[in-house]
């Protein structure tokens, strides 16, 4: 028999926010810092522009993030490695530039899918991400623009990236 008592109010927060497959445009508002129970956000297949909102990576409960197929620009924020329970991060089909930030050990341990293809990312896939494949993590799908004769991003296939696309604005089939 247990006694439980608390006068503290429960934080109520949105768990699912799904607005994909519309014609939504402009910047995704950077207002997610208080959505502390959000675990699934899908804004894919819209006309969103601007940068990836940083506050989404402050929602510690986030598990699934789909940003695919918009016109998001700028870089992948280094904060992307903060959510402990992130399993799916889809950034494919945007106009992101810069390099893929490395992560610290112990981060993104639950990540199973990281989709980065069809962007303008360059550099080399960090070894800290590659190590999530195989023994160091759960990463089953790591896709990037690492294909073609002059790959945009260097990523060893198939030990690190297990699908390589020819990026550079090539339309996805």
């Amino acid at each position: 028999m247990s006694h439980q008592h608390s006068s503290a109010p429960i934080l109520v927060s949105t768990e699912n926010l799904v607005v994909s497959n519309n014609f939504l445009a402009k910047q995704i508002p950077d207002v997610f810092q208080n959505l502390n129970r959000l675990n699934y956000m899908d804004v894919s297949n819209n006309l969103f522009t601007g940068t990836i909102p940083l506050s989404i990576f402050q929602t510690r409960s986030i598990r699934i993030l789909y940003f695919s197929n918009n016109t998001l620009s700028g870089t992948i924020p280094t904060e992307y490695s903060q959510p402990l329970f992130l399993t799916n991060l889809f950034l494919d089909g945007n106009v992101l530039t810069g390099t893929v930030p490395g992560i610290a050990s112990g981060q993104l341990q639950q990540l199973t899918e990281l989709l980065l293809e069809f962007n303008f990312l360059n550099g080399t896939m960090p070894s800290s991400i590659c190590s999530l494949r195989g023994g160091g993590g759960m990463l089953a799908a790591l896709f990037s623009d690492c294909g073609g004769s002059s790959p945009q991003i260097f990523c060893e296939y198939p030990s690190c990236c297990n699908r390589c696309f020819e990026g550079g604005g090539v339309t996805k089939a």
Partner: protein
């Protein structure tokens, strides 16, 4: 094969004192249509035939079940009109669950006669026509499930007056026009699923008023404009307390 008539009679005789009849679920032997003898159980408050293989239409004699508060025929093979006139006569009904059948017809303006209804589950059928504005007269409505039907027309702005509406699911229909801003006056709304329709226009900024909303699925429509920054308000402190003293 066991007939429904036999089972219902068995539970009722010699004295019809049963106020709840619940058919065991997923028993494939229980095939058949609802017997007209059903009217014998006048004290019946709960008729639960969930997940069986009941065929045919709801018997007209069901309207004699004047004390019925729960009519659960979900997940069967019922045909005919989704809300036949005899159901509109069941004015004590708190819950009508008829999802997952093969029901047709429209939701009539008579729906307002079910003045106490809290749960109206009609999803996954072949219901046509539009959502009647008279639904707004059912002021106790908490769960409105109309998803996966052939419903056309608009989402009535009048539904915004349903103060305790908790869960509104109209996804997978052919609804069009805007998501009315008045809808977001239904301040108890926790789940709003309107995906896979033809809604156009913008997402109303009034959405920020729904501080209890935990599930917003408005994907696969033709919505345009910006995602309102008010969605960041969907996390305000709720009015609930974390639990009463329990032992």
């Amino acid at each position: 094969m066991t007939s429904l008539a036999f089972i219902i009679k068995l539970d009722c005789s010699p004295v019809c004192s049963v106020n709840r009849f619940r058919l065991p679920t997923a028993n494939n032997n229980l095939i058949g249509s609802l017997p007209n003898e059903i009217k014998a159980i006048e004290l019946l408050e709960r008729l639960e035939l969930y997940a069986n293989t009941v065929t045919g239409t709801l018997p007209t004699t069901i309207s004699a079940l004047s004390n019925l508060i729960l009519l659960d025929v979900e997940q069967n093979l019922l045909t005919g009109v989704a809300i036949p006139s005899q159901v509109y006569n069941l004015t004590s009904l708190l819950a009508y669950r008829a999802s997952n059948n093969i029901l047709t017809g429209t939701i009539g303006s008579d729906i307002q006669r079910l003045a106490l209804i809290q749960q109206l589950w009609l999803s996954t059928n072949e219901i046509r026509g539009s959502i009647p504005t008279q639904l707004a007269a059912c002021s106790d409505l908490e769960y409105l499930f109309l998803y996966e039907n052939l419903i056309v027309g608009t989402l009535p702005s009048e539904l915004g007056s349903l103060e305790i509406l908790n869960d509104l699911r109209v996804y997978n229909n052919t609804l069009q026009n805007t998501i009315p801003s008045e809808l977001f006056q239904a301040s108890n709304l926790q789940s709003l699923r309107v995906q896979f329709n033809f809604f156009s226009g913008t997402i109303p900024t009034e959405i920020g008023a729904l501080t209890s909303l935990t599930d917003l699925q408005i994907d696969s429509n033709a919505l345009s404009g910006a995602l309102p920054s008010e969605i960041g308000n969907l996390s305000l402190l709720g009015k609930h307390s974390a639990g009463k003293l329990t032992e």
